[in-house]
Amino acid sequence: MRYTAFTSYDIVLLAQGLGVSLALFLATTIIGLLLGSLWAIIRFYRVPVLMQIVTVFAELLKNSPVLVQLFLVFFGLPAFARLNVTPVEAAVITLSGNTAAFVYVIAVSAIESIGRDQIEAARVSGLSRWQVLRHIIAPQAMAFAIGPLTGLLVNQLQVTSLISVIGVVDLTKIGNILNLRTLKPFIVWAIVGGLYYVMAKLVAFGGATLEKRLRAHTAWKGL
């Protein structure tokens, strides 16, 4: 009994797992946002060859299981390229790439929603490509994309749980450890699930707040 019961130290374990999950979520979100936007810009400027590669790559990432992507990076890359990949590195690479693929899709439709005539008008008025991107495209695309992005991030937060399978000690892995030790699956998985739920709600709330502020901002600018 002594070894199986819950102890107060388990709270520390859960907090650690939660921290690992959150840290990886935030890191891969930032990388994914940057990478996905970059891909969308490549597509927008129709960069030859790169554009085709990006399209195929994004399609593959979107339409295959994250778990398989994770295995390919964690088990496949070391065998293929004789690289040493730690679980955390594999997690960062895979989750960033996966997030990027979905960000890419959202960013492309956000840019398309602006309309090329508006962009051409800005170009004609003498703005440089960079200025157009920064002052015309980016603010409008952000306002359009924030809703879909929030949905995506709520989903990607849940996807992080898969990295427990390759041995990253995230919240789900802690759940596994506690589950095997205490043999109380209902309590353990309900707590772990509850923590994920709260995180998901916080992400959704944050997205909604940001959307409100962005929209208020654009409305004010329109006056």
């Binding site: 339409n63 295959s64 299981p65 295995f71 390919l72 849940q158 998985w189």
Partner: protein, 222 residues
């Protein structure tokens, strides 16, 4: 740095067996999701505030908790309450329940998009509520929801790979075994990735065709 696919040839029958198991699990889970999704959508859109609240809580919970956590909850939890089912059944149950949450959302918006006048016409003609739901609401909602339901199904296929974590040797589980037998993880997982992508692409083509077939009568006369 060699990329040699021939090494996989002898393992193809084993992988196909895994793929068949994946297909079986997904089809069963699709049926389960549709049943649960329909009932839950009916509850959410029902006039009873208590039922619709309960249905909403279910959808909210299962959409916001990672599938792998749900899966472990059932896999380790069910025996605890005396329900002993194999990994396949556990996987199908978990996939159905998670899929049901997404399905119910799709069906719910299908229901809400129905022109209220059509329902009024059904009501004044004396049809009972269950009859209206069965004969009018569901057929219309399902037709308009073919594409979003297809996306849910594709997600179900991708999610089913997680069943490999509860000892089920479906496609991903089989691939894991082949990878450790051959020491060629890169080839096997690369092929697996392309296989899933092709499979979901074919499914999305089939969904497009189904959508056009079911809505063939809904185009305006020339």
């Amino acid at each position: 740095m060699t990329f040699d696919l021939t090494i996989l040839a002898p393992h193809i029958p084993f992988l196909v067996k895994g793929a068949v198991l994946t297909a079986e699990a997904c089809v069963l889970a699709l049926a389960g999701s549709l049943c649960i999704g329909t009932i839950v959508a009916a509850l959410v859109t029902s006039a009873s505030p208590v039922l619709s609240r309960i249905a909403y809580i279910y959808v909210d919970l299962f959409r916001n908790i990672p599938f792998i956590v749900q899966l472990f909850f059932f896999f380790y939890g069910l025996p605890e309450i005396g329900i002993y089912v194999n990994a396949f059944a556990t996987g199908v149950i978990a996939l159905s329940i998670a899929g049901g949450a997404f399905t119910s959302d799709v069906i719910r918006s299908g229901i809400l998009s129905i022109d209220p006048g059509i329902l009024e016409a059904a009501e004044v003609s004396g049809l009972s509520k269950p009859t209206i739901f069965r004969k009018i609401v569901m057929p219309i909602a399902l037709r308009t929801s073919v594409r979003p339901l297809g996306s849910v199904f594709i997600n179900l296929i991708l999610t089913s790979s997680i069943l490999s974590t509860i000892t089920l040797n479906e496609l991903t589980g089989s691939a894991k075994i082949v990878a450790s037998d051959t020491f060629r993880p890169f080839e096997i997982y690369a092929v697996l990735l392309v296989a899933y992508a092709s499979l979901t692409y074919l499914v999305s083509l089939a969904i497009g065709a189904l959508h056009r077939y079911l809505n063939r009568d809904q185009t305006e006369a020339a």
